[in-house]
């Protein structure tokens, strides 16, 4: 019986230490929370701190609610899901930046997509040249980290372009 009591005491001691660690772990979150509460900087105001969010909100003002757009990005970056969330209910199609022009053009035509969004405009992407040369794409100047093209999918033949 005695060992059981000692085992419980040891467990409670470990739990107590773990509680201290838990407090330490969440301390930065609590500090941030306290600061935001004190400065009334909460809710939607937090989103406004993110340049990507501000850019996506600008796009939402341009892309009609019933439009379809192709978003060129890597899923792993986690930005695509953010864009989709904020651009909902617009129909969203994700393609990776490495997608060749033939497949990109085919998708745009097949899905009747009227917009193409590239998250990282300064990085190279496989279809950059083809898009620049095609008369179906018109870049919409939007200040921000990425690029937006208006697409006239009817002018895309859906053949091989590369």
């Amino acid at each position: 019986m005695r060992w059981k009591t000692w085992a419980i005491r040891l467990l409670l001691l470990l739990w107590g230490l773990q509680l201290v660690w838990l407090g330490y772990y969440f301390a930065p979150e609590v500090r941030d929370l306290a600061w935001r509460l004190a400065s009334h900087h909460t809710g939607a105001a937090i989103l406004q701190e993110d340049p990507f969010y501000r850019w996506v909100r600008t796009l939402a003002g341009i892309i009609p609610r019933h439009a379809t757009y192709v978003f060129l990005d890597n899923y792993e970056a986690g930005k695509e899901i953010e864009a989709r969330y904020h651009l909902t209910p617009r129909r969203h199609i994700l393609l990776p930046p490495a997608v060749p022009p033939d497949f990109l053009f085919f998708t745009l035509r097949q899905e009747k997509a009227t917009y193409l969004i590239i998250r990282e405009g300064d990085r190279s992407w496989a279809s950059k040249k083809a898009v620049a040369q095609s008369p179906a794409f018109h870049e919409v100047p939007v200040p921000g980290p990425g690029l937006l093209f208006r697409v006239d999918y009817g002018r895309l033949l859906g053949r091989f372009y590369d």
């Binding site: 019986m1 419980i8 660690w21 899901i81």
Partner: protein, 482 residues
């Protein structure tokens, strides 16, 4: 400021309607609602209300009706009110007849003993829980929706459902085959708020966590633990590792699933031990429905509960074995009620059901998963010292594990740990992606069963207390039903 206060009022009224609806159904299912203490009643009411409300929204979408507050709440609240009225009339008449035949004390709350004053440790545990929930509620409601699955799946669907006034899945591809209890409940809150206010709607999650803990506390007390011990085990679950606290403020379906799993397992366990209040199996059926309608992993989890129950009955062979086996049909019906509507809806809408999840068996993944699982159970980052405490509790239980219904809890936990390994063994993931896949999912799979593990920890504590002759100063609160 006024706008924020109004939004909060709308949110509270919306949540209140869910409680009301659930309580109506609870009172219909349970012969004597006063047998349940307030927090337990609230906990069950919310789970039942959320399940019913969202299934009703599914029906409305099926009928092609545009979702809106009047059409969501009106018919279902009226129907519940009428049913409650009829029940009251029937009960009143039967009570009148019983009183005429054999006058005696009226059916009332079974707990007539004077309340025991709170002791120091009660206040300590309550204080810790209050701190946790204060932080979690502020964190949930003041920050926008941010976690991966919250914006990729659950929150995104909720937004789409609200904006399209129905279950329109044409504009998204966000695991469309997943069950929709959570997205529909969030979209219902958006209807209450009159707009998509995702940070305020996230207040749902600390509430759900609190109800889960209320349920655990109630089960522990019904199981025979004193108030202080039960509060201690509840705080032990809530404040062990980072997984539970984090799920109190992110919009994931795992906490609701853990709540439903605890309700189903806890009620069946009390039923095994003859401590269950009347109507427990009907309530368990609702929990099974909630499990199936809450998450894709829900139906398999529910099946493991039923399997554990069947194996326990087969091993213990109680004298009323046949009656008990037949009674298990009630939760099974609940499982069907939560599983079939969505499956039918998806089949009629030609939604792909994720059948490609199982293609082959990968032994190397199974073996790797064994290591990952062992590390996750032992690493205090995830669940603190809860799983080591479970091992200690199993040792304390000793032979009683094989001779009493505690076997049911142990089989459920063990069966699920095995099921997790098998699930990883058949997951069609790339070898390079497998470690990150496990990292992203394992803690959540364990969260589903962790409250039940805490229940078993409570059993271990009870055994230890019995051995020392303590823990009997506070008796189990409510007389059970044979």
């Amino acid at each position: 400021m006024i706008d924020a206060a109004l939004s909060l009022c709308r949110l509270l009224l919306g949540l209140g309607a869910v409680f009301l609806l659930g309580y109506g159904c609870f009172a219909l299912l349970v012969p004597r609602p006063p047998e349940f203490p307030g927090p337990e009643k609230l906990a069950f009411s919310f789970g039942i209300g959320a399940t019913l409300l969202t299934l009703w929204m599914l029906v409305l979408s099926w009928l092609g009706l545009q979702l809106g507050l009047p059409v969501i709440l009106g018919p279902i609240l009226v129907l519940t009110g009428v049913a409650l009225l009829v029940k009251k009339l029937i009960r009143g008449r039967s009570r009148e007849m019983t009183t005429r035949e054999a006058p005696g004390p009226p059916a009332s709350s079974p707990n007539t003993a004077p309340p025991i004053p709170y002791r120091l440790w009660d206040w300590v545990f309550l204080g810790l829980l209050a701190l946790l929930f204060l932080g979690a509620t502020l964190r949930a409601t003041l920050y926008p929706m941010w976690a991966w699955d919250a914006i990729a799946t659950w929150g995104c669907k909720a937004k789409v459902f609200y904006l399209s006034r129905g279950m329109n899945l044409t504009c998204i591809d966000a695991h469309n085959y997943y069950p929709n209890l959570l997205p529909l409940l969030l979209s219902y809150l958006y209807f209450c708020l009159g707009r998509v206010n995702d940070h305020l709607a996230q207040g749902l999650f600390p509430l759900w966590g609190a109800l889960l803990l209320a349920l655990l506390q109630a089960f522990l007390r019904r199981g025979g633990l004193g108030r202080t011990q039960a509060l201690g085990v509840t705080a032990f679950l809530a404040l062990n590792g980072t997984v539970f606290p984090v799920h109190l403020y992110i919009a994931y379906a795992d906490l609701p699933l853990a709540y439903f799993a605890l309700a189903a397992v806890g009620l069946l366990y009390l039923w095994f031990t003859d401590r269950a209040p009347r109507g427990s199996l009907a309530l368990a059926a609702c929990a099974f429905a909630g499990m199936a309608w809450c998450k894709y992993e829900g139906p398999p989890l529910a099946v493991t509960v039923l399997l554990a129950a069947l194996l326990t009955l087969a091993w213990l062979r109680p004298p009323d074995l046949k009656a008990r086996l037949a009674a298990l049909g009630i939760p099974l019906l609940g499982l069907g009620a939560g599983f079939l509507p969505w499956r039918l809806f998806a089949a009629l809408g030609h939604l792909e059901m994720g059948a490609d999840h199982i293609r082959n068996i990968y032994p190397q993944q199974f073996l790797a998963a064994c290591t990952y699982l062992g590390v996750a159970l032992a690493n205090p980052f995830y669940f603190g010292v809860l799983w080591p405490a479970l091992i200690l509790a199993l040792i304390f239980c000793g032979r009683s594990l094989w001779r009493t219904p505690r076997l049911f809890l142990a089989l459920f936990i063990g069966g699920n740990l095995l099921a997790i390994l098998i699930a990883y063994g058949v997951a069609p993931t790339d070898a390079a992606e497998f470690p990150s896949y496990v990292r992203a999912t394992l803690d959540r799979l364990l969260l589903h069963i962790t409250p039940v593990a805490a229940l078993l920890v409570g059993e271990g504590l009870k055994t230890w207390g019995e051995g020392r002759g303590i823990g009997s100063t506070e008796q189990a609160i409510i007389p059970g039903e044979k």
